[in-house]
């Protein structure tokens, strides 16, 4: 292992894995007093199936993987749609019930309008959900953020573990063939609690 020179300022790449030291002693009974710290562990629970609620776990999970964390994602209730291959390319976004919905484009019509939330009734108009979904997908694509299926592939390649909630799976009468290929299994809530031991849990 090459020594880091004195006074060297270096980014935090996490703990270095020490190479086995051969100091001459052949004492195989050596037991380290402090166990080496494993990677930081994060678990996400995805419970919502709206398009805008799919992204938080995908983005944070991806960031966590890039920082060397172990990542587990449990998909439950409506969130199960995110790993359902028949559904996850057509998740939708609705204005209804979202009072934070405002459009930056409206500022061009009249300054200040971009900060006004959209009237709730608008969300109920036919075609409005499809329109809002299209718009959000476009905004995401403009920022080079992958769509949901591609994002799952990216996470899987980076080593994320996906789990489907057994209760929801049974309730929705799903079949395993519909789940994303990287899904580790259909597990119970208790299984997830076991798997996420020591993890920081984020519920979405």
């Amino acid at each position: 292992m090459t020594e880091i020179p004195a006074g060297f300022t270096m980014p935090d790449f996490g703990p270095r894995v020490a190479a086995p030291t051969t100091t001459g002693t052949t004492d195989s009974q050596f037991v380290p007093t402090v166990p080496p710290p494993g990677p930081r562990k994060m678990a996400f629970i995805c419970s919502k199936g709206n398009l805008d609620m799919a992204y938080p776990a995908l983005i944070m999970g991806n960031a966590a993987l890039g920082e060397g964390c172990e990542v587990h994602i449990f998909f439950t209730f409506w969130g199960l749609d995110i790993i359902n291959k028949k559904l996850n390319h057509k998740l939708q976004f609705t204005l209804t019930g979202n009072t934070a919905m405002h459009m930056p484009q409206l500022g061009r019509l009249r300054p200040g309008l971009e900060y006004r939330s959209m009237p709730q009734q608008l969300g109920g108009l036919p075609g409005m959900t499809a329109f809002a979904t299209r718009m959000m997908k476009q905004q995401m694509a403009d920022l080079e953020i992958p769509d949901v299926p591609a994002f799952l592939d990216l996470l899987a390649a980076a080593g994320a573990h996906f789990y489907a909630c057994k209760l929801t799976f049974d309730m929705m009468k799903m079949i395993e063939a519909d789940l994303h290929d990287a899904t580790v299994g259909v597990i119970s809530a208790a299984d997830f609690i076991e798997i996420s031991e020591g993890a920081q849990i984020v519920f979405i």
């Binding site: 983005i59 890039g66 060397g68």
Partner: protein
């Protein structure tokens, strides 16, 4: 701003340790830096680093892992294998570039 010296190479970094000036980078320096994070640079390791330098020379920003996949055509799984832990940060550092700021 701190200045780092390793085996006769001197370069300026920000408080976190990332390069400020990409012109203070050289392939020989990258080899020395790689040794500090226990990476031995072979052709597979060099390919993404070269891509990052070329890409950032064009765009002005350090490419993200997603860009390495979509534009560079690299396999994400392979990049995690080559640079375990924090792949994109390690590669950006070895390429003499600032820390990547993109979220995805």
């Amino acid at each position: 701003m701190p200045t780092n010296t390793v085996k006769g190479h001197t370069f300026e970094v920000n408080d976190e340790g990332f390069f400020i000036n990409r012109d203070q980078w050289s392939e020989e320096l990258a080899v020395e830096l790689a040794a500090l994070i226990d990476v031995e640079l072979d052709e597979a390791h060099w390919a993404p680093i070269r891509f990052m330098r070329q890409d950032s020379a064009r765009t002005g920003v350090t490419p993200t892992l997603r860009r390495l996949q979509t534009v560079g055509g690299f396999d994400v799984k392979e990049l995690y294998r080559l640079y375990p832990g924090k792949p994109v940060k390690k590669m950006a550092w070895l390429a003499g570039l600032p820390k990547p700021v993109g979220c995805v």
